[in-house]
Symmetry: C2
Subunit: 111 residues, 2 copies
């Protein structure tokens, strides 16, 4: 679950697309492979999923014949937010976004 592995995993547009696809719901390897069949073979998807799992960004669970994969949102956001904290401790846009998120969360009580 090192930052190295996370950023390595995120460096591929294919893997980022897989993560985005998983954001809606978890899915089997076959479903994911089918979704990207126009662009990549099933073994290629399988390798991407292994790498994503090694980076700690997805979980994997075998159920019967299929293997289900799901996003580990906390690992992803944790790493990126931590990195942002290191590199831009006082970034304006991040704080802006943060303030918005906090506002949405609380309703308009802080407005």
């Amino acid at each position: 679950m090192s930052a190295d592995k996370v950023f390595e995993a995120l460096s591929s547009a294919s893997r980022r697309r897989i993560l985005a696809f998983l954001s809606k719901t978890d899915m089997t390897a076959g479903e994911i492979a089918q979704r990207f069949a126009d662009v990549m073979s099933a073994p290629a998807i399988s390798k991407h999923l292994s790498l994503l799992e090694a980076a700690g960004l997805v979980w994997r669970e075998k159920r019967g014949q299929s293997v289900h994969y799901g996003l580990k949102e906390d690992a992803l956001t944790g790493t990126l937010v931590h990195f942002l904290g290191e590199v831009c401790p006082r970034s304006r846009p991040f704080r802006k976004e943060s303030a918005e998120a906090a506002r949405r969360k609380k309703g308009s009580s802080t407005t």
Copy 2:
């Protein structure tokens, strides 16, 4: 300034260290090279800086003999926050971090 180039740029631990080093203040290519001299040559640093600039993560300005580089925080946070929004629209840790950031910003008025 594509997300592709940003994630590509961030995939290297060396480049992430350069970014973190630039977070304190901007610096000349020579100063940066000196900082990492134990681990990498000046031409290697120069290539990393070019790549970071191509990704839109740093600016470059020639002043006299030297070339100064500085972090473009907004580009970095913008890309990562946008990506998080796509992949984990309702991530808990991000919101938690967001709430903290908002709190720090406002003082303890919301506590």
